[in-house]
C-alpha cells in the first residue's frame, strides 16, 4: 500500500524536495550570555560569514541555565555562547550539553583547554578575566577617602557605606569573589574577611556588574567586579579607576557550549569553530570587551588588564564550580555573614 501511495505522490514529493531548500533556509538558534552588543556582533558576523540565519536570545548565564533546564526534554537552542563558566560547567554536570572537540583547539590557550577537559569536552573557555574592584575617583576625593590597593584595604572603617558587591546568591561574579577570598585566605579567615567587608557594604546588588555601574554614575564609591567590567566603564568615559588587589585574585573563564539534542547541530559546530578563530575574537575590541581571549593569536586592547602582570591564584574551577560546594559556601555566607548588623 505504501508503494502505491509513493507512486501516486511522486510528482508532489519531487516538487516538495525541489522547493524545500527555498523554504528551509539554514538557521541557528543562539543563546548569548555576554553583553548585548557583543552578542549582536557575533550573530551578524556569523550570518555574514556563512549565510546561516541566526536567531539570537540574550539572557544572563543564570537565566540561560534555567531555560536550558526547563527546555531539556525539547531543546530549542543550538549553541550557548558567553557568560561566566560556572553555569556552563553546571549545565555539563546536569547533562544538558553535547561534547565536541573542535579542530580549532590547537590555537587556544591552556586555560581554555583545561576548562574543556574538566567538563568532558562539553564546554570550552572563550575568554577570561580577573576579579578586582574599581572606584569612582570623583566620589572618592569628594569624601576625602584614601586610595585602596588591596583586598584588606576594603575592611578599613572609613570605607563604611562606600563599598558595593553583588549578592553571591544571585550573581556568579559575587560567588567568584566569595570563592576567591576563601581560596586566598583559607575558609575560616576568608569568612572573617567577608564579615568585616559586610560592615562596609552599602548594598548587595542582584547583578554582578551592577556595583561598578553604580560607581560609574556616582551612586556608589567602590564596586567589587571583574576588572574588564571596570575597564569598560572607564573606557566609556566614566571616572573609574581599576584596582588589581595586591594579595592576588581569582578569575573567571567565559564559556561556550553546544546544547544537547539541538535542532541544527551542524550549524552549531560551524559557529563553535568560527567563534574560536583569532580574527573573530579580535573583533571583541569593537564593542569594548576587554577580556583576554582564548585564541593565542587574538589581539587584546592596551587598556585591558594584562593577566600576566596580575597575581592570579590557582583557581580550582572543578571544586568551586560544583553544585555541592557552591550550595555549602552560599549557605554558610547566608547564615553567618548576611544576617549580621551593618
Amino acid at each position: 500500500m505504501k508503494n502505491i501511495r509513493l507512486l501516486l505522490l511522486a510528482p508532489l514529493v519531487l516538487a516538495g524536495s525541489v522547493s524545500s531548500p527555498l523554504y528551509a533556509a539554514e538557521k541557528l538558534t543562539y543563546y548569548c550570555s555576554a553583553q548585548e552588543d557583543w552578542c549582536q556582533l557575533m550573530a551578524t558576523g556569523f550570518e555574514e560569514a556563512t549565510g546561516i540565519k541566526v536567531n539570537m536570545t540574550r539572557k544572563s548565564s543564570g537565566e540561560t541555565l534555567a531555560q536550558l533546564k526547563a527546555e531539556s526534554s525539547n531543546p530549542k537552542g543550538d549553541i550557548w555562547w558567553g557568560g561566566t563558566g560556572d553555569p556552563h560547567l553546571q549545565a555539563a554536570e546536569e547533562g544538558l550539553l553535547a561534547a565536541y572537540e573542535s579542530p580549532m583547539r590547537g590555537e587556544q590557550n591552556d586555560w581554555a583547554i583545561k576548562q574543556s577537559e574538566s567538563a568532558g569536552n562539553q564546554t570550552i573557555g572563550i575568554y577570561s578575566g580577573a576579579l578586582g574592584y574599581g572606584y569612582n575617583e570623583d566620589v572618592l576625593t569628594a569624601n576625602n577617602l584614601p586610595v585602596p590597593a588591596c583586598w584588606s584595604d576594603l575592611l578599613k572603617p572609613e570605607y563604611k557605606g562606600h563599598v558595593q558587591m553583588a549578592n553571591p546568591n544571585s550573581s556568579g561574579t559575587a560567588y567568584t569573589t566569595l570563592a576567591t577570598i576563601v581560596q586566598l585566605f583559607g575558609e575560616d579567615e576568608g569568612f572573617e574577611f567577608m564579615k568585616g567587608l559586610h560592615k562596609n557594604i552599602n548594598q548587595y546588588t542582584k547583578s554582578g556588574s551592577a556595583p561598578i555601574k553604580a560607581a560609574a554614575r556616582g551612586e556608589n564609591t567602590i564596586g567589587i567586579v571583574f576588572m574588564h567590567d571596570a575597564v569598560k566603564q572607564a573606557a566609556s568615559g566614566f571616572p573609574i579607576k581599576v584596582v588589581a588587589p595586591c594579595e592576588g585574585t581569582g578569575y573567571e573563564i567565559g564559556g561556550m557550549s553546544l546544547i544537547k539534542d539541538g535542532r541544527n547541530p551542524e550549524n552549531a559546530q560551524k559557529f563553535y569553530d568560527w567563534a574560536l578563530t583569532a580574527d573573530v575574537q579580535t573583533r571583541a575590541l569593537e564593542v569594548n570587551a576587554f577580556q583576554v581571549m582564548s585564541n593565542k593569536g587574538a589581539t587584546s586592547s592596551p587598556k585591558a588588564p594584562d593577566l600576566a602582570s596580575i597575581k592570579l591564584i590557582d583557581y580550582d574551577f572543578k571544586k568551586y564550580g560544583s553544585s555541592a560546594e557552591r550550595k555549602r559556601l552560599l549557605k554558610k555566607w547566608d547564615d553567618e555573614v548576611s544576617v549580621l548588623p551593618q
Binding site: 500500500m1 537565566e63 526534554s73 566620589v139 549578592n167
Partner: protein, 731 residues
C-alpha cells in the same frame, strides 16, 4: 440536531480530516505544509491520513466519538433528553481521550515508565497539537456544552453554557495547569521525591517570616517587607486616585484634560524607567540630591535605595490604575441620588459623605485591591530601586535565575505571595457585602453631578497639583535623558541614541530598518495589538457571566478567573515554560505563548472593570430586552455592550499597554524570534546604557499615547444622555 451542533460536528471533522494534526514548525499561520508533501507526509498529515497509513493508531477512537452524535441521532425524532445525553457522552469521551493520549505519548514514546511496562515499549512519538487537533478539541468542547445545555442547565441556554465551558477550559489549561506544575515543585526535594516536611521547612524559613526588625535585628522577613509596602501603596494610590477622579469630574478645575493626560502617562511607561528617573533625581549623585546637599551643606546619602524609592516609584506607576478604576465609578454614581439628597436639605458635605462616597465603595475596594496586588507583583521598580529592601517578587525571580537556581524556593515564595493576595481579595469581598450599588437604572436619570464641598475640594486640588508637578518633572527628565550623551557626565545634546535604536536607511530594496530596536519594536506592537482585543473579550464575557448568570459553581468559577491576577508574573513565566515546552501543548518560542500569557495575566482587570461597570446597570434592562423576544446573545451585544463602553475601553487600553510594558513574565517567554521591547530595554539598562533605554522608552510612550487616543476614538465615549455639567455648558 440544531444548527450549532451540526456546525461544530462539521468543524470537528474538518479538523480531523483536512488540517495537519500536529504543530507546524513555522507556526499556526505558516502554510509550508500545503506545498510540501501534504496530506501524506507524517509531519503535515491530518489525523485521517495518518490513520489510513497505519500510523498514530491511538488517534482512531477520536473519530468514533466525533461520529457518535451523527450515528446515534441523525435527524431522527428522539427525545430531547436522549439527544443531550448522546452529545454529553461524545464530548466527555472525546476530551478525555485527547488528554489521555496527549499526556501518555510524548516526544520520546511513553511519558511514564508504568505505561511502558504495561503496554510494552513504543517505537513512535508525537509532537504538540496543531491546527487540526485544536479544532477537534474545540468541537468536542462545544458538543459537550451543548449537551449540558440540552439537559436543562442555565435554562438550556446554549450560548451561556458554551461561554462558561470555553472560559473554564481556557482557565484550566492556561492558569491552573501551569501553576499546579510549578507548585508541585515546592513539595519536591532535589531528587524529585515529594515530601511535606521539606515544604514546611522551606515555607517557615526565617528569611520569609522573620520578625527580627521589630526586636532591633537587621531586617525582617521578605514576606513582611512585601506586605508592608503593598498596604502602604494600595492605600495611598486609592486616596490619590480618588482625589484625581473627583477633581476630574466634580470640580470647576480648568485643566482637567491636562490632569487626565498626566495621570495616563505613568501607566504607559515601562516601570523601571520611572525607577531610573528617580535615581537620576534623588540618587546619591542625583540632581535634586546634589542641589539640596549644596544648599543646606549636607552630606548626600543613599536614602532613596530601599523602601522610600520603591514606594515613590510605585505611587507614580500605580495611581493611574486606581484613577482609571475610580473615574468610571465616580462618573457612574447617579446624579439623581445626589439631587434627591440635596432636595432633602442635605449639605454638600453630607451628600458627599452619606450618598456619593458609599456609592463609590465597590470602586474604592477595587482600587485598593489593584494597588495592593500590583505592588506585591511589581518587579521592575524593586529591581532598580530596592537596595537592601527585598520583596517577594524579586526574590522569586532571583531564586530562579540566580546562581542558586532553586525552583522549589521560588514556588514556596510564590505560595506566601498567593496567601497575601488571596486574603486581600477575600477581605474586599466581605467588606463590600451584599448592599445594592445599582445606579444606572434605565429610568429617567437626568441631572448633573454635585460639585465637591470645599473641605474635600481643597485637599484634592493640593494633592493633584503636587503630583502633577512631580510627574511633569519626572517625565521631563525621561525625555531629556534620551537626548544627552551620557547622563550627568556629559550633557551634550545628541540624537545618537535615537539613531542607534531607530535608524532608517535606504538600500536597493527600499527602506531598511537598520536600528537595533526595530525588531523588538514591531514584535511588541504585533503582540500587544493581538492580545488587547482578546483580553477585553475574554474579560468582559467573564464579567457578564458572573454578574448576570446564575449557575452551579459560580464562586469557584470567579475564583479561577481572578487567580491569575494574584500570581506574580515571574512565576507565570517559569510555569509556562515548564508546562508548555513539551507536547501536547507546545508553545515555547512562539509569539502565541506571549499573547496567551498577556490574555490570562490581564484578564482579571477586564473582569473587574466589567463587574464594576455592570453591577451599576440594572437587570431590568436585560429583562426588558429578553421579554421583547431577544435572545441572550442579542441582549448582550445590543444592550449590555453599548452601556459598558467605559469598561471596554479600560480593558482594551489596559491590556494593550500592559502587553507593551510588562516585563516580569515576558523575560522568561521571549525568544530569539519574538523579542519584546521591555526585555530589550532591560538589557540596555543592565549594560549601563541609559541613553538608549530612555530613548526607546520615550518612543514607546509616544506610540502608546497615539494608540490609546485611537482606541478612545474607535470605542467612543458613553452617552448616558445626562445634561451637560455646569462647566461644560458654560464653555
Amino acid at each position: 440536531m440544531n444548527k450549532s451542533t451540526w456546525l461544530w460536528l462539521v468543524l470537528g471533522l474538518i479538523g480531523f480530516c483536512l488540517l495537519p494534526w500536529y504543530v507546524q514548525e513555522d507556526g499556526l499561520w505558516g502554510f509550508e505544509w500545503l506545498v510540501d508533501g501534504y496530506p501524506f507526509d507524517p509531519d503535515y498529515a491530518p489525523a485521517l491520513f495518518l490513520l489510513m497509513q497505519g500510523e498514530k493508531l491511538w488517534l482512531l477512537p477520536l473519530a468514533f466519538w466525533l461520529l457518535l452524535p451523527i450515528a446515534a441521532i441523525g435527524n431522527s425524532p428522539k427525545t430531547v433528553r436522549y439527544k443531550a445525553n448522546v452529545l454529553l457522552l461524545a464530548g466527555v469521551l472525546g476530551l478525555s481521550w485527547l488528554a489521555i493520549q496527549g499526556y501518555s505519548i510524548g516526544l520520546r514514546g511513553w511519558n511514564y515508565e508504568a505505561l511502558a511496562t504495561l503496554f510494552g515499549p513504543l517505537d513512535d512519538r508525537q509532537y504538540g497539537m496543531g491546527a487540526g487537533a485544536l479544532l477537534v478539541t474545540a468541537a468536542f468542547l462545544f458538543i459537550l456544552t451543548t449537551g449540558i445545555a440540552g439537559r436543562g442547565a442555565v435554562n438550556g441556554d446554549v450560548f451561556v453554557v458554551g461561554a462558561i465551558g470555553l472560559i473554564i477550559a481556557m482557565v484550566t489549561v492556561f492558569i491552573f495547569f501551569p501553576i499546579v506544575q510549578m507548585l508541585s515543585s515546592a513539595l519536591r526535594d532535589n531528587d524529585g521525591t515529594y515530601s511535606l516536611g521539606i515544604f514546611l521547612a522551606k515555607f517557615l524559613d526565617n528569611k520569609i517570616w522573620g520578625l527580627n526588625c521589630l526586636q532591633g535585628g537587621t531586617r525582617c522577613g521578605v514576606a513582611w517587607n512585601s506586605l508592608f509596602l503593598a498596604v502602604l501603596v494600595g492605600f495611598s494610590t486609592t486616596v490619590l486616585g480618588l482625589a484625581f477622579a473627583l477633581v476630574a469630574t466634580r470640580s470647576g478645575f480648568k485643566y482637567k484634560k491636562l490632569l487626565r493626560a498626566l495621570t495616563v502617562l505613568p501607566i504607559i511607561t515601562p516601570p523601571f524607567v520611572i525607577g531610573l528617573a528617580i535615581i537620576l533625581l534623588f540618587g546619591l549623585s542625583g540632581s535634586i540630591t546634589q542641589f539640596v546637599a549644596e544648599l543646606f551643606n549636607l552630606q548626600p546619602t543613599r536614602w532613596i535605595y530601599g523602601l522610600p524609592g520603591i514606594y515613590i516609584a510605585q505611587m507614580l506607576s500605580f495611581t493611574p490604575i486606581a484613577f482609571l478604576v475610580l473615574i468610571g465609578v465616580v462618573e457612574g454614581v447617579s446624579p439623581s441620588m445626589e439631587e434627591a439628597a440635596q432636595t432633602l436639605r442635605a449639605t454638600k458635605w453630607q451628600t458627599f459623605r452619606t450618598v456619593s462616597l458609599p456609592l463609590m465603595r465597590p470602586g474604592l475596594a477595587n482600587a485598593f485591591l489593584l494597588g495592593f496586588i500590583e505592588s506585591m507583583a511589581d518587579f521592575g521598580n524593586p529591581l532598580v530601586l530596592g537596595g537592601n529592601y527585598d520583596v517577594l517578587s524579586t526574590e522569586i525571580f532571583f531564586a530562579i535565575v540566580g546562581a542558586q537556581n532553586d525552583q522549589g524556593k521560588a514556588a514556596v515564595l510564590a505560595i506566601a505571595l498567593l496567601i497575601f493576595t488571596l486574603t486581600a481579595f477575600y477581605a474586599q469581598r466581605r467588606w463590600l457585602g451584599k448592599k445594592s450599588y445599582t445606579t444606572k437604572t434605565g429610568k429617567g436619570d437626568g441631572g448633573m453631578h454635585v460639585m465637591l464641598p470645599r473641605r474635600v475640594l481643597l485637599p484634592c486640588y493640593f494633592i493633584a497639583m503636587t503630583w502633577g508637578v512631580f510627574t511633569v518633572t519626572v517625565y521631563g527628565m525621561i525625555l531629556y535623558g534620551g537626548f544627552v550623551e551620557t547622563w550627568g557626565l556629559n550633557n551634550t545634546l545628541t540624537f545618537k541614541h535615537y539613531i542607534t535604536a531607530f535608524g532608517i536607511g535606504y538600500n536597493d530594496f527600499g527602506i531598511h530598518f537598520k536600528g537595533a530596536a526595530w525588531d523588538s519594536f514591531w514584535t511588541t506592537l504585533k503582540i500587544a495589538a493581538t492580545a488587547a482585543p482578546l483580553t477585553a473579550i475574554v474579560g468582559l464575557l467573564t464579567a457578564w457571566l458572573l454578574v448576570r448568570q446564575n449557575f452551579a459553581g459560580k464562586n469557584a468559577f470567579e475564583f479561577g478567573t481572578m487567580l491569575s491576577f494574584a500570581i506574580p508574573g515571574t512565576v507565570i513565566g517559569v510555569s509556562y515554560i515548564l508546562a508548555f515546552n513539551v507536547p501536547p501543548i507546545e508553545l515555547t518560542g512562539t509569539g502565541a505563548i506571549l499573547v496567551i500569557s498577556f490574555i490570562f495575566r490581564n484578564m482579571p482587570v477586564g473582569v473587574r472593570a466589567g463587574i464594576a461597570s455592570m453591577s451599576q446597570i440594572d437587570k431590568s434592562l436585560d429583562e426588558a430586552s429578553l421579554t421583547l423576544g431577544a435572545n441572550t446573545w442579542r441582549t448582550f451585544t445590543r444592550i449590555i455592550l453599548p452601556l459598558m463602553r467605559p469598561a471596554i475601553l479600560a480593558a482594551l487600553v489596559f491590556s494593550f499597554v500592559r502587553a507593551m510594558t510588562a516585563i516580569s513574565a515576558v523575560i522568561f517567554l521571549v525568544s530569539a524570534e519574538y523579542n519584546m521591547a521591555t526585555s530589550y530595554i532591560i538589557g540596555r539598562v543592565e549594560n549601563n546604557d541609559y541613553g538608549i533605554a530612555i530613548a526607546y522608552s520615550s518612543v514607546l510612550i509616544v506610540v502608546m499615547l497615539a494608540v490609546v487616543g485611537l482606541m478612545q476614538l474607535l470605542v467612543g465615549r458613553v452617552d448616558t444622555r445626562r445634561r451637560l455639567s455646569q462647566s461644560e455648558s458654560k464653555a
